[in-house]
């Protein structure tokens, strides 16, 4: 029923592209374009979209709906498509039940109740229709049993390596993980900081940070939403806890903990972002290249 209602509205679309322009997730990746989704939905050629993982990038913020001149509820169209996509086995995350230990850490961090430990077999079960794939569960899972389909572990690791290899000789290698909702929107283009965008800082696994340092980063910056500002409720708080633990470990091993910085930057604080980057670069210049780079 709902599908047909949404479809009626979709016919009003004249492909102006405001939805894609305003979409915070379309900024993140080229794979996700609400305009094209509506186009395919109009002409009933949804099979391709239904098989793509990028469908799950929609975070249901309703920016497209609010800005659409024709008042087309693109978000609801995508929500319907998500429901369809599950039938094709297209889900935002996959739980490896052989690995899952039923510890419920995922259940505890999920702000949407989209992943729960089943009482019968004590394995995590995800509910794709509630999930908006922020990735906090995957970052928190001690058994590495949760595989995100977007921003997968391997994708993130290659992004880190790519970023680090893009720096020239003698350049300070700062890897910054920026929240797409806040810090990235507030980011200025700076020379010595290549940024990796994430849907939420809650996705940033401790392994990514260690991987960045081991691959030769001089500094790692994490730009998150302010407290209470997180689109995914608590992703930034979880990230901060994780980062503080890593800082302690880095300090113990002999890598200056100042090389890892966690900052709250809202999307309107462009000046703050510039200040943070300048300050961080200054600090790193004083510290010099990372001690871990000597061996490379």
């Amino acid at each position: 029923m709902e599908t047909s209602n949404a479809k009626k509205k979709a016919y009003a679309c004249y492909q102006c592209g405001v939805c894609t322009g305003i979409c915070p997730m379309a900024r993140l990746t080229e794979e996700f374009k609400p305009r094209l989704i509506v186009q395919d939905f109009q002409s009933n050629q949804t099979e391709d979209i239904l098989k793509k993982n990028s469908l799950w990038l929609c975070a249901a913020c309703y920016c497209c709906y609010e800005n659409c001149p024709q008042m087309i509820n693109v978000t609801d169209i995508i929500a319907d498509l998500k429901g369809e996509a599950v039938k094709y086995g297209n889900v935002p995350l996959k739980v490896n039940e052989d690995k899952c230990i039923g510890c419920a850490n995922c259940e505890y961090v999920c702000p949407y109740g989209a992943i729960k430990v089943d009482v019968h077999d004590s394995k995590s079960k995800s509910n794709p229709e509630l999930c908006i794939s922020c990735g906090s569960c995957a970052a928190e899972c001690p058994a590495i049993a949760i595989a995100m389909q977007n921003f997968a572990d391997q994708q993130m690791k290659s992004a880190i390596e790519k970023t680090i290899s893009s720096f020239g000789k003698g350049e300070l290698r700062i890897v910054s993980f920026l929240c797409n909702w806040s810090a990235y929107a507030g980011a200025d283009s700076t020379t010595s900081s290549r940024s990796i965008r994430v849907m939420c800082t809650g996705r940033i696994d401790s392994l990514f940070i260690y991987h960045a340092f081991l691959s030769g980063a001089d500094g790692v910056l994490i730009g998150a939403c302010n407290r209470g500002d997180c689109y995914y409720a608590s992703g930034n708080i979880n990230a901060e806890k994780r980062i503080n633990k890593i800082k302690k470990q880095l300090g113990d091993i002999g890598v200056e903990p100042e090389r890892l910085r966690f900052k709250w930057i809202s999307r309107s604080e462009k000046q703050k972002f510039a200040d943070v980057i300048t300050d961080f670069t200054e600090k790193l210049k004083k510290l010099g290249p990372s001690p871990l780079r000597k061996m490379r």
Partner: protein, 217 residues
């Protein structure tokens, strides 16, 4: 569940000195659930060890593996047996029981702990803190104290409390710590069993806690 704390990484590296191939063994039991010794933590530790060795210009091979329960001889033997041949030393992320089980199964390979085993505890998830709940005294009195253990949660292990040190519901030893006996009083009052507090408990038989203990099952 068993609560552990990671040892200082430098102490771990000191113990690993002179070894070339390390096998890190995580445990998916208690330590896995509390994110202290699961697979991810084992890989993290392997990365940290690599970092530490990089800083000291040394080369070392690390491999991380996780077993369901390290305190089970059968599981340890089956899971680790085939891959144990190409390692010099085992670094166990489990509790003391797990470390000893691995050490017993593999007699000719040194096993060292990555964690300090602390206590039997439970979690207050909102605060992310683990609290000690049981000292395994071998002689449970929770039936008389409304399910709150004074032997563990009262620093003086009073069997007849509270003492004079309680102030505004908190213990004199720590302003943050709730008085266990006040908690017991409130709990018994709610369940209408205050009578049981009037009985004076006789001294506890601590011979039942004399270690090492064993249990036939």
């Amino acid at each position: 569940m068993i609560v552990v704390e990671r040892k200082n990484i430098n102490d771990i590296l000191e113990n690993l000195k002179g070894f070339k191939k390390i096998l890190l063994v995580g445990c998916n039991g208690c330590v896995g659930i509390y994110q202290l010794g699961g697979e991810k933590q084992a890989i993290e530790l392997a990365m940290l060890i690599n970092m530490g060795n990089k800083l000291k210009d040394k080369k070392i091979d690390t491999k991380a593996i996780t077993v369901i329960r390290q305190c089970d001889k059968q599981i340890v033997k089956e899971e680790l047996g085939p891959i144990i041949t190409d390692c010099d030393i085992i670094l166990s992320l489990a509790c003391g029981a797990g470390v000893q089980t691995v050490a017993e199964v593999f007699e000719n390979i040194p096993v060292i702990p990555a964690n300090d085993t602390k206590f039997i505890g439970a979690q207050a998830r909102e605060k992310g803190t683990l609290f000690e709940m049981c000292i395994a005294c071998g002689n449970c009195i929770l039936d008389k104290t409304g399910g709150i253990c004074p032997v563990t949660r009262c620093p003086k292990s009073h069997l007849n409390g509270p003492c004079g040190g309680v102030y505004k519901g908190k213990c004199e030893t720590d302003k943050e710590r709730d008085c266990a006996w006040l908690l017991i009083y409130n709990k018994l009052k709610l369940s209408g069993k205050l009578e049981s507090m009037k009985k004076i408990a006789s001294p506890k038989d601590f011979t039942k806690a004399a270690h090492p203990r064993k249990q036939e099952v």
